[in-house]
Symmetry: C2
Subunit: 159 residues, 2 copies
């Protein structure tokens, strides 16, 4: 009695049109993100860095020393993850912890001289990889996409 009661391979109730539109967008967004992140990870792996590690370095490079909690908001990683990642970067001499004078619970993370040197060298290459990965769209199209995604992300982020 394995007579393929579900012989139609696609048991897809097409749902309503708006839902179908949303699902399609969801799929292509995932694909695009994955394709670009893959390239980024590949580039960073050559320098023994993960995406999350690089994101921390980048935040510190552009913003200067930050409280660990602030780094967490930037990088969107769990609190335990921040401790773990900063530990690893500290062990490699790229980042250091600094006490916060006004609040003894809090700690700053800051780039060391070596970390700054690394980022000065690495960031332009990283930017080039991203730019290269996004050449599927013209500059005008990119701006358009940015506007749409900003709106999308903002709405999706508010729970």
């Amino acid at each position: 009695m394995k007579a393929r009661t579900v012989s139609s391979p696609a048991a897809t109730p097409p749902s309503d049109a708006p839902t179908a539109t949303a699902l399609k967008l969801f799929v292509v967004l995932n694909r695009a993100h994955q394709a670009i992140a893959r390239r980024e990870a590949q580039h960073l792996a050559a320098h023994e860095l993960t995406i999350a590690e690089f994101a921390i370095l980048e935040a510190l490079y552009h913003k200067g020393p930050l409280l660990l909690g602030e780094v967490q908001k930037k990088v969107l990683v769990s609190s335990g993850g921040i401790t773990f990642l900063v530990d690893k970067l500290t062990a490699r001499g790229l980042v250091e912890r600094q006490a916060c004078p006004s609040d003894r619970r809090a700690r700053y993370a800051a780039l060391t001289a070596e970390g700054t040197r690394l980022m000065r060298r690495l960031f332009p290459a990283h930017a080039a990889v991203i730019r290269e990965a996004l050449t599927g769209l013209s500059s005008v199209e990119q701006k358009h996409a940015t506007a749409l995604l900003k709106q999308l992300g903002k709405a999706a982020a508010t729970p």
Copy 2:
């Protein structure tokens, strides 16, 4: 000699304009993706499923039985990961492996009756979560964004 030789907090060389545009798009794309994926993960966690597990179930639900290699291409996970995930789903009685008659190396993955039942119940709820998460854009805007992201993803995927 710690006299803050890099006292400007932002050591940002603005690079050229096209690069800046690309980086901005990259950031908002990451944000949007993360915000939506977070919601998805939250919804699926209520049913003890990860995103990757659900992706496998969904592929089988919509396409019928698939070779493991085909599942891998759909879900974009390493081959070891597919084995691991299908094992877990099999242990829960949602998926089963089937021999391939024409090639004894290959195995099919297929939904069990229970897996089909689960998806019939779960998929509409999942679609609703996605639709809800994307309400930041109107249907027209979503179609526009889809077109742009498709183009972007296609170019980024070809290495």
